[in-house]
């Protein structure tokens, strides 16, 4: 049995992204490097044989997805899983959290100029953001950050794929000026400009989208929000 075939079978049977280490559990002969090699082989194979699907990297996981040019055919079925689109306020809030994480609700609301408790709860329920910890200061506010599912939802491999602030037509102000004016209690000031570095350390926080343990039964995630049929 070729390694690439084993990996292919695992990818084929999954309806959610799988990390290389998770795929490697399929056989003793596999480790993360082997799995990544195998994924490369599969990609080449699928390209050369003009398959209608491809191996995509979403967050830290791999998933077999159809190629974009076939979407119009699939959209005619209402039985295919399709992610629901986020609302304007949800996108706006996510944008702030993605760039400023870890960040508290008060800060988000200051930037948006509107109350955001409801949107934050919705994003949390949908697994797109999670609580990373508590900030210093009054009331020890909850601090939020984006999850693996956030990356999956937007098709990103990592947060690095977000547009750099200097690529944008308007410049984000640096954090310090906000902290001076902020009437709330700003979080830990030790983080980098975007707070992106911080993310890695919090990776082990619970509920970041990857099922832990061996018993990754398919029934475990039947209600993936991304595939919410209700909207």
């Amino acid at each position: 049995m070729k390694a690439s075939q084993i990996v292919e079978s695992v990818l084929f049977a999954s309806d959610a992204p799988l990390k290389a280490e998770e795929i490697a559990r399929a056989d003793e002969s596999l480790d993360e490097d082997r799995v990544e090699e195998a994924v490369q082989e599969l990609r080449t194979l699928y390209d050369e044989s003009e398959r209608a699907f491809q191996v995509m990297e979403l967050g830290e996981g791999y998933q077999v997805l159809t190629r974009p040019e076939f979407s119009s055919y699939l959209e005619r079925f209402d039985t295919v899983p399709r992610p629901s689109r986020l609302s304007g306020p949800a996108l706006e809030t996510l944008a702030i959290i993605a760039y400023r994480q870890p960040i508290g609700r008060i800060e988000v609301e200051y930037i948006r100029g509107v109350g955001s408790a409801g949107v934050i709860r919705t994003l949390q329920d949908r697994g797109l953001i999670e609580v990373l910890g508590r900030g210093e200061g009054l009331g020890r506010p909850l601090l939020y950050g984006t999850t693996q599912r956030f990356l999956e939802h937007f098709g990103f491999t990592s947060l690095e794929e977000l547009p750099r602030p200097d690529e944008l037509p308007v410049v984000l102000r640096d954090r310090s000026s906000l902290e001076e004016e902020e009437e709330g209690s700003p979080p830990d000031p030790s983080q980098g400009e975007l707070g992106l570095d911080q993310r890695q350390e919090n990776e082990s926080a619970p509920g970041n989208g990857s099922a832990s343990g061996e018993e990754r039964a398919p029934e475990e995630e039947p209600a993936r929000e991304d595939h919410d049929p209700g909207s």
Partner: protein, 284 residues
């Protein structure tokens, strides 16, 4: 005061009416910063030199229209109004000698620029989301049972609504009297059109069936014909999502003909008179 800049871009030439402006706008704008940015960008104002008196006045005009019962939702707008008035007052005061005194508008400008930045980013996120949505994974979703309208979250954007609104033919202003004419477009004719079309094609877009005609009555009757045929299970109707193109799909036409040919014959007499409501009683 010149309010021409206040008009929503989608309705050029529409007179400014405070009441409905606000009703629409409070929903349209995601918050006071959004509204402020709109006022500033719409009038090509230099964001680093905001004419605070003018902008405050315009902002207050909008906020003024907030009805008492909407105060809950409008709190943020009122807070911004207060901030603007405060800045306006500070601008009038003679500035202290110390040059380190910051322009009273500085913090507002920073917030506006930052908010504009965030909007740019959310636009890109929306784009990434749309691209990601074109890739499908494995899975099967139960064909949905319609939820009660109350439970359906409204997930749409103003762009979507605008697009649909622009597609709607507006009634001619003016003449209030309606001239009722009957029997111009026969339902059976449309049924036949659909059947003929689906004879050749396995599926057809609804709009395709309408192309030769301008009169909206053709649209109405074609839709009724489609619904009737789908009720008889002769065709099926598909729509990917709300407001998207409607598809008419062929089912087994021959089998259907055999089954309901009789019923159809019976119907035809009724259908002829259906557009003519005066004898509508005998319709199916």
């Amino acid at each position: 005061m010149d309010l021409s800049g206040l008009e929503p871009p989608a309705a050029p030439g529409r007179p400014f009416a405070r009441g409905d402006f606000l009703l629409v706008e409070l929903d349209r704008f995601q918050g006071p910063l959004d509204l402020l940015l709109h006022l500033i960008r719409q009038q090509d104002i230099d964001i680093f030199d905001i004419p605070i008196a003018t902008i405050t006045e315009q902002f207050l005009t909008v906020v003024d229209g907030i009805a008492a019962e909407e105060l809950d939702e409008a709190g943020e707008f009122l807070e911004m109004a207060a901030t603007l008035v405060r800045i306006k007052a500070q601008m009038l005061l003679p500035r202290g000698e110390e040059e380190e005194d910051e322009d009273p508008r500085a913090e507002l400008v920073r917030r506006l620029l930052e908010y504009e930045q965030i909007r740019e980013i959310s636009g890109r996120l929306a784009l990434a989301e749309a691209q990601r949505a074109r890739l499908f994974g494995k899975g099967y979703v139960e064909p949905r049972i319609r939820e009660a309208a109350d439970d359906t979250p409204l997930e749409t954007t103003w762009e979507d609504v605008m697009e649909v609104a622009m597609g709607v033919e507006m009634p001619r202003a003016g003449g209030r009297s309606h001239r009722v004419t009957t029997g111009l477009v026969a339902l059976e004719e449309k049924i036949q059109l659909i059947l003929d079309t689906l004879e050749e094609l396995t599926r057809v877009e609804f709009s395709q069936l309408l192309t030769p005609w301008k009169d909206p009555m053709h649209g109405v009757m074609t839709l009724l014909a489609g619904l009737e045929l789908s009720r008889q299970r002769a065709i099926s109707l598909r729509q990917a999502r709300l407001f998207s193109e409607l598809w008419l799909l062929r089912k087994d036409l021959d089998a259907w003909r055999g089954e309901v040919g009789e019923e159809m014959k019976g119907m035809e007499t009724g259908l002829e008179s259906l557009p003519d409501m005066s004898e509508g009683e005998e319709g199916p």
